[in-house]
């Protein structure tokens, strides 16, 4: 049974048709979190976020409070919000920026106050035309309302907030690439170390980069206290989380549910959530957390939706997006499409990723469309081993960023689980499921 009693922390207003407007926001407690934060010391606000044990909701799952504490002391520092949501089948930030832009803006102001930053940016992917409009509208209204600009709500705190449109590049979700794009350059990830922009970020100054959903949690955490947030979920996975469910389910969508208290099976089958598989077919495999994550077979459906719980089984919850593949799904085609994506989106800086992605894509293409050879199956694994040696989880790094080493996950999973299906493609001279 799914556990659905937890409060809606970030999706409470989505039921209103005018959830994006300032009037609705103010009627439903909007900007109260900010007012409360401004009566506290910045360190106290940061301490509440720390106490909430909020793991960043972007994909890496790094504790938000710890990221903040690493911010190097400097006369100038920046806060940048990562809204470049482009991980395939991830659509929760899209939901937040269109449905509740004020909640995001308020969250950014609270975080900026805690960090004592006076300049913040919200980077949104360019394909969110409506989202960009809604967030800019919310920022305009916030300035007018006194929640942004000089001396916010009469306090001594001032903040300028700029929304920055991306222009179609998955790699800009990687935080150092995002910073490059914000500096007006190609989105090339930066060489590490330093590993964190908190040391050297935008314009070389210390910078915190946080995800849209992470920021959207701030007003509730300040109003209700970090302990109340930490009381939800279990272990390291505190609070609720937005899960984006897609693929072969009756009712795909974004669902805010308590972490750990629910399993993949609950999310997929509960009538109030996914509603089961289309035509009641059997599940072949699921992708548990974005296309960089190793797949799960149906025997792992009872794993709880928690960071460590999924990691223990050799995958990751990542961006919180779950894709369901049923018995009619061709796993070779699915793998080919995922790798085609990585191949298109590789920025081209590092050889293993740039060359490897194209090579993998061509081999998978010929397996699916005809011309595949028996030895191709092990050739795929051999190539993967060159990109992420040992095919371990988490993958070994051979490149500047994690894009390249993310490719072997799905290939390795698909071949381990469905090797015979790959051979059937060779024998058939193309896809036998068409």
């Amino acid at each position: 049974m799914a556990s659905l009693d937890a409060p809606k922390i970030v999706s409470s207003r989505a039921k209103f048709a005018d959830s994006h407007t300032l009037s609705r926001y103010l009627e439903t407690g909007g900007y109260e979190g900010l007012r409360k934060a401004l009566t506290m010391f910045p360190e106290q606000v940061a301490a509440e976020v720390d106490a909430a044990s909020l793991l960043g909701r972007g994909g890496a799952g790094f504790p938000a409070g710890r990221k903040w504490s690493m911010l190097r002391k400097s006369p100038v520092s920046y806060l940048v919000v990562n809204g470049d949501e482009s991980e395939p089948a991830t659509f929760k930030d899209h939901y937040l920026v269109e449905r509740d832009p004020h909640q995001l803006v308020e969250g950014v102001i609270i975080a900026a106050y805690a960090l004592q930053v006076t300049q913040a940016f919200i980077y949104l992917r360019g394909e969110f035309a409506l989202g960009l409009e809604r967030v800019q509208q919310a920022i305009n209204e916030a300035y007018e309302h006194g929640a942004l600009g000089r001396k916010i709500f009469g306090s001594s705190f001032s903040l300028d907030l700029v929304v920055h449109p991306g222009a179609g590049a998955y790699i800009c979700g990687e935080e150092t690439a995002l910073i490059e794009a914000l500096e007006g350059k190609r989105g090339f990830p930066r060489i590490k170390p330093p590993f964190f922009p908190a040391v050297t970020g935008l314009y070389g100054e210390p910078t915190v980069v946080n995800n849209v959903e992470t920021m959207s949690n701030m007003p509730w955490i300040v109003l209700n206290g970090g302990a109340a947030f930490a009381a939800l979920g279990a272990g390291r996975s505190a609070g609720t989380r937005l899960f984006a469910l897609s693929g072969r389910v009756r009712n795909p969508g974004v669902f805010e549910i308590e972490m750990v208290k629910n399993t993949f099976r609950d999310l997929i089958y509960d009538p109030q959530l996914g509603g089961g598989v289309i035509d009641d077919r059997a599940i072949k495999a699921i992708i548990p957390g974005g296309v960089s994550a190793p797949w799960f077979g149906p025997e792992l459906l009872d794993v709880p939706l928690g960071q460590d719980e999924v990691a223990e089984k050799g995958s990751m919850l990542g961006s919180g997006s779950i894709v369901v593949m049923d018995e009619t799904t061709c796993v070779v085609r699915a793998t080919w499409r995922i790798i085609k994506f990585f191949s298109r989106e590789s920025c081209g800086q590092c050889t293993p990723c740039r060359e490897g992605s194209g090579w993998l894509e061509r081999i998978l293409y010929r397996l699916e469309h005809g011309g595949g050879r028996v030895e191709d199956v092990d050739l795929l694994l051999d190539l993967c081993d060159n990109i992420a040696p040992g095919l371990t989880w988490p993958p070994q790094q051979t490149t500047i960023c994690v894009l390249g080493p993310s490719m072997p996950s799905s290939i390795n999973a698909a071949i381990s689980m469905f090797r015979d299906d790959f051979y059937a493609h060779v024998q058939h001279g193309g896809c036998p499921h068409d």
């Binding site: 006369p75 300035y143 903040l159 179609g168 314009y203």
Partner: protein, 206 residues
Amino acid sequence: MTHFRTDLRQRAEELVSLYPRRRSAMLPLLHLAQEQDGYVTDEAMAEIAELTGTTPAEVRGTAAFYDMFHLEPVGKYVVGVCTNIACLLAGGEELLAHASATLGCSVGGTSPDGLFTLEETECLADCNIAPVVQVNHRYVRTTTPDLFDALVDDLRNGRLDHDVPPHGTLIRIRRSGGLRVDREELAGERAEARAAREARAATEAK
């Protein structure tokens, strides 16, 4: 004479002033150039170089990296059909093939009447209504061949002019508020605020 129209030139200067460094306005300015011309022209690149303190080659090199910027003319409507994993499972490839037949152009090409350019896109983050179709980066939620044909008909007859404005209108809403205060003044205020907080903390500790 600037290449940007007078109103857009003013807008461009506003965009540059939003950032601590001029070059940061690069992506917004490229969007603005597409808003005016439909694609990023050589003339626009030269002007963006002047506005951002870069060279036209740097502007081109940056623009070419990003999928949304077109360096050659495109149709009035850029139609994007997603075929990534969630859309693949919902018939995205089939819908893309249908779109190609309906519009009479190959993927990446422009229809004979010059009205439509068809693109195969990567994930557009709307996977609960798959397969996802965008026109000029507006979600149009046409998931079946019949709905797609109706969409094309509506676009041809101008019935969607409000929902789907001409391309490049990423920033239809303008920024109306702003803060461009002297950084030293702000730093001074911050130091004062910190001193006041410390004094308050000391009092509370007693």
